[in-house]
Symmetry: C2
Subunit: 215 residues, 2 copies
DNA sequence: TGTACATCAGTGAACGCGCGTTCACTGATGTAC
DNA sequence: TGTACATCAGTGAACGCGCGTTCACTGATGTAC
């Protein structure tokens, strides 16, 4: 629950606060978890970190930049998790789909605040996303696309690939959202139970796709 | 696009504005669609409706009450749509599941602003939901439960019912969210195309469940 | 090791803003007679 | 139909608040010599 103590070689306490930039990002996540994204204000962050309210401006150009950095870090962790799941899974395409789906849901369980800002906080119309954020989003997306294409073969009609991708994506995304928003949290006592159910649902779905592709 | 002209017998233009309460709720939806839930402020509403900023207080105790009323109306329409889909569908349980799923997704397509407030705006921790809202949420939920139970039979183990409900719910909810947030909107050119794909995915899933129940 | 200087993270006062909410009022509408 | 009155939706000034952002400053840290 405490801050991740990323131990560096040289300068752990170089400046007045130590690492205010890191602390701001971490505290933003805590506030999101407690009160939602809209409760993340530069003044609230400063207050809870015991610094003056002008201090955050030395690390982030403005509030929006800070929120976008939280989202970028979230998508980076997310893309990493999906890529690792893809790499660690057996080469069987069905097993890979399951592994990626599970990683998707597990990310939501382990990083609910990140998910909130990634999927609810930065979906506003007028928001200009920095290239770095777009890149991480694209990297995560690519894992889903690759796994789907691997499942159906490169020669499959693009409409079929699209529908399959969309179906699988919807399933795992819905699971993640229903966990974040409460319904799944209420239906399943522990996240282990929840993940087991999710894994079984994925297996069932993949079996269905295989039967359809074969028949 | 204009206001729904709910024609009443007696008093359509009784008071100064006509029906400011109705206008506030409708304008709130427009603002949500354009700028998101957090842009709905009592002053912005008054400004856009051409009334003084004190006027809304005569119809809603405060901002939160107005937002909750929008959510309640949303869930009422939503529950109605699901119940009608259930009633109109063939008695075959699989067909019913498909029909309800399609109604779920169609609601998101037709009422994106409502969905935003229903699933993103009132999910904050500290928010006290009025009983009327809880009742409409429960009514919508019950349609999903009933359809699932009808599919597997009353004697099915509760864990299986739970997982099946959760799987189906996740799928349709994910579809709705991916539409609202953009990915599905980008993948499918028209909502008809989107709905066709959704219908096909539902049929595939139901076929999978049937095979599993039979085998 | 010691000193002088440069850097820059953090301070705190200040600014203007939009917000939610209150409240005495006004005046249009509805009703009783 | 006309008049007197009651109702109450909408007005506009006022309040206090927290916010984002700026900026001259301070003082601790890092570095050059």
């Amino acid at each position: 629950m405490s801050k991740p103590s990323t131990i560096r070689r040289k300068p752990p306490q170089h400046y007045h606060h130590g690492n205010l930039r890191r602390a701001l990002l971490d505290m933003a996540l805590r506030i999101i978890e407690e009160k939602g994204v809209e409760a993340v204000t530069t003044r609230a962050l400063a207050r809870r970190l015991g610094v003056s309210h002008g201090a955050p401006a030395h690390h982030f150009h403005n509030r929006e930049a800070l929120i976008l950095e939280v989202a970028t870090e979230g998508f980076r962790t997310f893309a990493d998790a999906l890529e690792i799941a893809m790499a660690d899974a057996p080469s069987d395409p069905g097993a890979r789909i399951c592994a990626i789906g599970l990683a998707y849901v597990r990310f939501a369980v382990q990083h609910p605040a990140h998910v909130r800002v990634m999927f609810k906080g930065i979906q506003r119309e007028g928001l200009r996303r920095p290239p770095e954020l777009e890149r991480e989003i694209e990297r995560a997306h690519q894992v889903l696309v690759d796994a789907t294409v691997a499942m159906v073969g490169a020669g499959a009609p693009s409409g079929f690939v699209r529908d399959l991708l969309f179906g699988n994506w919807s399933l795992v995304h819905g699971m993640a959202m229903l966990w974040i928003d409460g319904p799944a949290k209420r239906a399943y006592k522990t996240w282990q139970e929840f993940e087991e159910a999710a894994a079984q649902i994925f297996r069932r779905m993949v079996a269905g796709i295989k039967r359809e592709a074969a028949g």
